[in-house]
Every structure is written in C-alpha cells, then in structure tokens.
C-alpha cells in the first residue's frame, strides 16, 4: 500500500508541474523556464526514489526517528548543515545583505556563533543521554508525563514558527518560477513533505538533507564565483562600487536599521545563539549518529559548512547590489530601485539569472526548492516525534505503546503538521522570512534551551522547576512576539505595538532561568529529593556514554 501510494504521488506531481508551465505561458512577465522545470522534476524523482528505498528500511521506531543511529559524523554534518541552512538563509539573508548591507552579516555571525557552544557544552551529553527527542534528556530523571508534555508543546511552537518561514519562502519561489498561484505552491510543498516523512522517516529526511546541502553549497559557490568574476575577484572593487550606488552609501557597512537600539542587538544575539541550541529538529540530528565521537565530528563539519556558506551569502548579497540592483530587467515596470520582481526575497534568484542565465537560475531554484523541502521535512519529523514519542507513547500510553502504533501515530501527526504548515504559510504570506526565523529562534532559546541545559548541568533541577521555567519561557516568548510590531501591528492590524522590541530572548530567557531556579530551590517534596539524587547516575552516563542508546544493526 505504501509503495503504491508513493508511486501514485510521484506521478501526481508531474501534471502539477506541467500545469504550472501552462500558467506561466499565459502571463507575459515570466517566460517558461524549462531548465528550472526539468531540474525540479529530476530532484523530485530522485528524492522519491530515495523515499521508496528508505521506506523499505524504516521498520522500527529507531529507524523512523533516528535512521537506526547509524549515520556517520560527516554525513550528519552535511545533514545538519542542510537542516540549518534554510530557504531563509539563502533567500532572506542574501536579501538582507542586499538591502541592509552589514546588518545581514551580523545576523549570520549570530546564526553561526551557537555552534561552537553546542559542541563544547552540549553535543556529547546530548548523544549520551538522548534517544529520539531532546525531551528524553529533560525528562531523564524528572516526571516523564509532565516534563515531556511541556517539551512537546514548546517543540511544536518552535516548529510552527519555523514552518511559517519555510512555507512563505516556498510559495514566493514557486510563484516566481512557474507563475503558479501562491496557495497552490504551498500545497505542493506541504504534500511532498508529507510523502518524504511518512514513508521514508529519518532515513529519507537525512538523505534529502545531504543531497540538498551538497546542491546548496555548490550552487551558491558557483553563483558567488561568477558574480565576483565581474569585479576581478576583488573585494575592494566590489565594495567601492556597491557603496557608490547603494542608497545607504557609506553607511552600508555600518550596523544599521535592523539593530538600531542596543536592546534589539543583544536580544538578537542571545536568541540566535541559544536558539540554535534549542531547535528540536537540530537537536534530533544528534541522535542519528553512532556515538559521542561522531556527534562531535558532526558539529565540526556542520559548522565549517555553515561558516563557509554564510560568507558566500555575504558576497552574493553585495554583488547583488550592483548586478541585480542596477538592472531594470529585475524590477517591476523596469524602474531601477522600485519593487523587485517576485518580491524582496528574490535577490539570490535574480543574481543567478544575471550571472549564469536560465540554466543557473533553474539550478538555484531547484536548490532552493530542495532546501525548503529538506528543512520542512526535518521540522515535520521533529514535530511528529514530539507528538508520537513524547505525548502518545510516553504520556498517554506511559511507555506501553507498541512500536507499530507509535510509528502510525507519528505518520498521522506528520500529515496533520503538513496541513498546519499549509495554513500558516497562507496566513503569513507577506512577512519577511528571515525575520520569522528569528522569532522561531527566540522561542527555542527561551522555552527549550533553559530547561535542557539546566537538566544536564544543574543537579538541583526538579520537575516543578523545569515545568515552571519551561512554560514561563514559552509563554513569555510567544507573548512578547505576539505583542511586538511584527505580529500585533503588521499581521493583526493594530495601531501600536504593546511590546516595543521585536526580539524576545533577552527578556524571556531570564524569566525561564530564574523561575526554574526559584521553583526548584523551594521544592521540598520527596520526589524532588529523589530527582536531585538521580542526577549522579545521569551525570556519569552523560560524561562516559555508558548505557547510551546504541546504533541498531544496519
């Protein structure tokens, strides 16, 4: 049944693409780009093949959630890079450098700086203590039911925020390439993602991410090299010309509008750094490797790829100022400085077309599409595992659920999440997607990270402290975002924001930490004393990896 369905869906996607091409033919603005269409089809066919293969290898819950724990450090490093460098990275950050210059580069350093910290303080403990989800660690010696419920709720919140960014990127991209209706594009992405995750689980998701990371790194590098060749590979020439034509002038290389007050800058730095360490789909990747050694290597490779690619993006954005920003072909109505065709996030795509023609545009578009699918699949899997492994198997069934039932629940959860993603994508069409990711990070930093790090490092953490800390971090981060300008004014249409800053981390993180501390310290129950005592064994396991979940045979 599974095989038939996969095949049927693979066939189904072809007429959709053909239809898309027709739609483009009807509007004059965008010519049918057969290169892009063919590369899209090749990618979809390839990933469907992988999913078909992965489905035959996905039998147990360990296969489904963590690919049996047999991924190598290098593979996982690529997959983490593939999971982490989203459409928001490629499209949103290139666009941010294009419009704001140096601000975009600051954002990228913030996105990167969390990685060394994850390695030094978290990677080996995550691998030694966790099995399928990061709640395995937070609930290790605490009340399973309550702590897992909390962790699952905050994971799902992060997943939803992140999904919004990905879906909006997908909609804009496919709209531009095929002239497809935005909503139809969103549905296509949502459905493809459901197929990958439900049939292929973590095996398919990992390989989609690896292929996508290789495509992204090579595609981005090619665009960057072709663009830089127009400036004789000289950063000085590029900067001279860019500052001469950009409306910010010399201010292009100054921290600017996005970080105009110190509170926003610090809050952003905190949110992006510790948010990385609290993203459920990233944390989940640490359970797919054999042991702590491979977990460390994963971070080494992943952070190398991420650091390299951010610098590529920086150059792409700067080159875009001249190559895209000075070319009337890319503006609506042909007015330079007006609205970019396809919206502000399309700088990277226009740049690819300008330096490499339709062939390169097609390739980069396929890359971006693959990117979205890979990240969305990782998110869906993380969200589904929170629902099936944490809530269904451990909270509702108290660990008594059969593997088959647990996998079935996670597949149903994936499909539900797919529809949630579709709905959210439609609701948030007009938001800047890089900004949206910042919000997801803020929630991850305030809701997931404090409880996770305290559970690993502080023996005094009790169930009561973890619950109060986790929920307060989650609620405060969400409320700060809700009352900030980006949702309260821009989405809900109110006149003035109730919370003056757009980044919640600086305020929500201390709330979570302080409340977790106070409510643990004042917890004098018998249970709390046992939980504190249980830390000793957990500590030895965290340090040595003895008793950690091992890789399954294949």
């Amino acid at each position: 049944m599974m095989r038939k369905l996969t095949a049927a869906l693979a066939l189904l996607s072809l007429p959709v693409l053909a239809l898309a091409a027709d739609a483009v033919g009807a509007t004059e603005k965008q010519a049918t780009n057969w290169h892009a269409i063919i590369m899209f089809c090749v990618f979809v066919a390839l990933t469907m093949g992988i999913t078909y293969w992965a489905a035959s290898r996905t039998k147990s819950t360990a296969d489904f959630y963590t690919a049996g724990g047999g991924i190598t450090g290098f593979q996982n490093g690529l997959a983490i890079a593939g999971d982490y460098m989203s459409a928001a990275t490629l499209l949103g950050l290139t666009a941010m450098v294009y419009t704001q210059g140096y601000d975009g580069y600051i954002y990228m350093l913030c996105f990167f700086a969390g990685w060394p910290i994850i390695l030094f303080l978290m990677a080996e403990r995550l691998r030694n203590l966790g099995r399928f989800t990061f709640s395995d660690i937070t609930a290790y010696r605490l009340d399973q039911g309550k702590v897992r419920t909390m962790a699952a709720i905050s994971s799902l919140t992060v997943v939803c925020f992140y999904l919004i960014a990905q879906m909006v990127g997908a909609g804009q991209l496919i709209k531009l390439l095929f002239g497809l209706d935005y909503n139809v594009a969103i549905f296509a992405v949502g459905i493809l993602m459901m197929v990958y995750v439900t049939f292929g689980g973590m095996v398919a998701t990992t390989w989609v991410q690896i292929i996508k990371a290789v495509m992204l790194l090579s595609g981005g590098t090619l665009v960057m090299i072709l663009a830089m060749s127009q400036f004789g590979f000289s950063f000085t020439t590029l900067m001279e010309k860019a500052t001469a034509v950009h409306k910010l002038g010399d201010k292009l290389m100054y921290p600017g509008a996005l970080l105009k007050d110190p509170v926003t800058a610090i809050s952003l730095g905190l949110g992006l750094m510790f948010g990385t360490a609290g993203l459920p789909h990233i944390l989940m990747r640490f359970f797919t490797v054999t042991d702590a050694k491979e977990a460390r290597k994963s971070v080494l490779y992943a952070s190398g790829f991420v650091a390299y690619f951010f610098n590529v993006i920086f150059l792409m954005g700067l080159a875009g100022i001249l190559i895209v920003g000075q070319n009337p072909e890319f503006f609506e109505g042909g007015t330079v400085g007006g609205k970019l065709i396809g919206g502000g996030n399309m700088v990277a795509m226009h740049l690819a077309k300008a330096v490499g023609g339709n062939m390169l545009l097609g390739f980069l578009a396929a890359v971006a599409f693959a990117t979205i699918l890979a990240v969305v699949s990782g998110l869906a899997l993380a969200g589904a595992s929170a629902i099936s492994h944490d809530i269904y198997a451990r909270v509702i069934k108290k660990g008594q659920a059969s593997e088959a039932a647990e996998i079935r629940v996670s597949k149903i959860a994936t499909i539900c999440l797919g529809f949630v993603a579709i709905i959210l994508g439609i609701l948030f069409e007009k938001q800047n997607i890089a900004f949206m990711v910042g919000l997801a990070f803020g929630v991850a930093a305030a809701a997931n990270f404090p409880v996770l790090i305290l559970s690993m490092y502080w023996k005094g953490l009790t169930t009561r402290g973890a619950l109060v800390g986790g929920y307060s971090g989650l609620v405060s981060a969400v409320l700060f975002v809700l009352f900030s300008k980006s949702v309260w004014v821009d989405v809900l249409g109110n006149k003035a924001a109730l919370f003056p800053y757009t980044q919640p981390a600086l305020f929500a993180m201390p709330i979570a930490f302080i409340l977790a501390y106070i409510f643990s310290k004042t917890d004098s129950s018998v249970r709390a004393r046992e939980e504190v005592e249980a830390f000793e064994d957990q500590y030895v396991r965290a340090q040595t990896g003895f008793g950690a979940a091992a890789a399954s045979s294949h």
């Binding site: 140096y102 580069y105 600051i106 350093l109 913030c110 990167f112 700086a113 990685w115 060394p116 910290i117 390695l119 030094f120 303080l121 080996e124 950063f235 000085t236 900067m239 001279e240 500052t243 010399d250 201010k251 290389m253 100054y254 921290p255 600017g256 970080l259 007050d261 110190p262 509170v263 800058a265 610090i266 730095g269 750094m273 702590a292 050694k293 460390r296 290597k297 971070v299 080494l300 952070s303 190398g304 650091a307 951010f310 610098n311 000793e536 064994d537 500590y539 030895v540 396991r541 340090q543 040595t544 990896g545 003895f546 008793g547």
Partner: protein, 106 residues
C-alpha cells in the same frame, strides 16, 4: 546493575580526572567564544560607528567585516581543536573508566 556500574565509575579517580580536565577545557573554549561574541554584540549595540571605519586609511575593508571574518574562522578552528582532543585523549580515558568498572564487576 547499571546503577552499580555508575557508582564504580564515579569512584574511579580517573573519572574525576576526566570530568575536571574536559570540563576545564570545554568551559575555557566556551568562555573565549562567548566573550568575543558578546564583546562584538556590545560594540554593535553601543558603538556601531566604530565598526564602519576602514581597517586602514583608504581601505575598503571595514573593521566590522574584518572582525567578523576573523571570528568565523577562529571559532571554527576552536571547534577543530576541541574535537581533536576530545576524540583522542578524553575518549580513551572514558574507555579506560568503563573497562575498569566492568573488570571490578567480575
């Protein structure tokens, strides 16, 4: 059974040594990264203009770009340093601890 194993490992002086050595190393590196990164964020927050200055007279490379590029490279080098030491020295120490705990059980 497991708990007894953990108890023996904890009692092994090598365990204390592992924890102390790795802890000191990891926290030192983490401190370097945190100090540099938040030092940089403070400059962004309170003295943004200084980042826009050229590194030298007439250069198009600004202090901010140079500092960030340095951090991208330096932080990655630190991860390599940590992985190298953890995957050799700390891991073999860990293996000894586990092996000795097994031996005691017999």
């Amino acid at each position: 059974m497991s708990s007894a194993m953990y108890e023996r490992m904890r009692a092994n002086p090598k365990f204390q040594e592992l924890v102390a050595r790795r802890g000191r190393f990891a926290w030192t590196l983490a401190f370097v990264v945190l100090a540099m990164f938040y030092g940089f964020v403070m400059v962004v927050a309170f003295a943004p203009a200084s980042l826009g200055q050229p590194v030298s007279e007439g250069s198009k490379l600004t202090v901010g770009v140079a500092a960030e590029l340095f951090m991208f490279i330096f932080f990655w080098v630190l991860t390599a340093v940590y992985v190298r030491r953890a995957n050799s020295e700390f891991d073999s120490l860990t293996q000894e601890i586990v092996k000795e705990a097994w031996k005691e059980q017999k």
